[in-house]
């Protein structure tokens, strides 16, 4: 027995042998394992270490940083999960372990089944029927928002409304958007908004998360509250690919909170454009009317021209045109005309000012009693008179009276 030389393995050799054996066993390299997380640790390296266990066994697990970073949530001890990866041997520790590349909550399967059951039930009741959906108001004056008061969803929505339609008034009704309290709080916030704020529409929103995180929006109670809401409800929950019961019950479903705010509000630029268009129509229609009236007037004048006793006077085309021009002016530029008249009157008054006349070289001749001389017969030869010019007066004596021939 001793003669038969038996090969002696080194520790390293046996570890390597087992490792090769396991790594070359195809079914062990692509497996899902379900269990409970324990001893979870996350050192600075960013790698995750934990043990997956069930009632009777344990399996050491490693998740490298590159894979761990892709996980939306960090698992906790006691959490029931399903992990995916491949088995290998950690030679330095002398143990086999699972190298994990994905972790998902173990409840997902059941949650999804519940989701499908509830959806089918409410659908059968007609809660999701298209004819039940209400139209959104074009210009919502008051917008209600049901969401977490501290989430990114609210910030995105407020930014979007500020950018698109700052004329709106926003009422936030805060509610937890995940956890056991969330479904009741969301429904209560919706009811409260309708009761106390009477918004024109309500946005129901939450940022992205796992199916478990979105579970609050899959409650039957919330779905029925949405359907009963007086104001139409727009849902913006999670990411594009997430569908919740609330989405189906809502009057409009948007892929994200930001998209919900966009669907709910008109764009300021579009409003400005339709306003400009309307202003144009206003001017066009008014001046069109003025033109029509002028044509009608012209036609009347022509009729008058043919039939009235005034025909002789009106036959003068130039005079007709003159009248028309004046009528049109009176209609379209009443105030300007008035002002122009005033200015003209003023000029004429200025022209009549005697000082202006003297300025032009005329003189006023008066007798000693102050009466103004305008006729030759008013004076006698040798009579002393006063002559007034623009800058003063001087005395003269009449030499000879000569009346114009005429």
């Amino acid at each position: 027995m001793f003669e038969q030389e038996q090969a002696i393995w080194s520790v390293r050799e046996i570890s390597r042998y087992l490792r090769d054996l396991i790594e070359s066993t195809e079914p062990l390299q692509n497996i899902w394992v379900q269990g409970e997380i324990s001893n979870f640790s996350r050192p600075k390296s960013g790698h995750w270490y934990f043990t997956l266990k069930d009632t009777t066994a344990q399996l050491p697990c490693v998740m490298w940083r590159t894979a761990a970073e892709l996980q939306l949530t960090v698992p906790e001890d006691g959490e029931s999960v399903q992990v995916h990866g491949g088995l290998s041997v950690y030679e330095a520790g002398g143990r086999y372990q699972l190298y994990v590349d994905e972790i998902r909550p173990a409840g997902e399967g059941k949650l999804y089944q519940d989701f499908l059951r509830l959806k089918a039930k409410l659908e059968a009741e007609g809660l999701f029927a298209l004819e039940r959906k209400r139209a959104l108001p074009g210009l919502p004056r008051r917008i209600g928002i049901v969401t977490s008061p501290v989430g990114a969803a609210l910030r995105d929505i407020l930014n979007t409304i500020t950018r698109r339609f700052p004329l709106a008034e926003v009422i936030v009704a805060p509610a937890a958007v995940q956890g056991p309290e969330a479904p009741a709080q969301l429904a209560a916030a919706l009811r409260r908004l309708n009761q106390f704020a009477q918004p024109d529409l309500i946005l129901l929103a939450r940022g992205g998360g796992s199916l478990e995180d979105l579970a609050a929006f899959n409650s039957e109670k919330l779905a029925r509250t949405i359907v009963a809401s007086q104001a139409p409800v727009v849902c913006g929950i999670g990411h594009e690919t997430d569908f919740t019961i609330a989405d189906f019950a809502a009057d409009l479903r948007a892929p994200t909170p930001t998209a919900a705010a966009e669907l709910a509000t008109p764009n300021k630029l579009d409003l400005a454009e339709s306003l400009a268009e309307l202003s144009q129509r206003l001017a066009r229609s008014f001046f069109g009317l003025v033109r029509e009236q002028r044509w009608a007037l012209q036609a009347t004048v022509q009729t008058l021209e043919r039939h009235s006793p005034l025909a002789r006077i009106l036959r003068d085309r130039q005079r007709v045109d003159d009248i028309l021009l004046r009528v049109e002016r009176a209609l379209r530029q009443r105030t300007r005309l008035l002002k122009a008249n005033q200015d003209g009157l003023h000029a004429r008054l200025l022209a009549l000012d005697p000082a202006r006349v003297l300025e032009r070289g005329y003189a006023v001749v008066s007798k000693t009693d102050g009466s103004v001389v305008s006729r030759t017969r008013q004076v006698s030869e040798q009579e002393a008179l006063t002559v007034r010019v623009s800058d003063g007066r001087f005395g003269v004596q009449v030499k000879k009276r000569m009346k114009d021939e005429g």
Partner: protein, 81 residues
């Protein structure tokens, strides 16, 4: 006092955007319809222009107002986010 007459239109500066816009739309439709009275047309035109100016100013200077609904149904200014 004059503005308190029964048929007096509302003061334009008190109108909300959608109210002013709706009235402007009505005025344009009226002007585009069969309207024979030029005095009336001038009145409508002038009010229409004032409404358009008001709407443009509202769009220009609007600032979003955010309030929060308390559990008790009270409205208070929204703080945070």
């Amino acid at each position: 006092m004059r503005d308190e007459g029964r048929n007096m239109p509302n003061k334009i500066e008190d109108l909300k955007y959608e109210e002013a816009f709706a009235e402007l739309e009505k005025i344009v439709e009226e002007l585009e319809g069969d309207l024979a009275n030029l005095d009336k047309a001038l009145q409508l035109f002038e009010r229409g222009q004032a409404l358009a100016r008001h709407c443009a100013a509202l769009l220009e200077k609007a600032e979003l107002r955010v309030q929060q609904l308390t559990d008790g149904g009270e409205l208070e200014e929204f703080e945070g986010n």
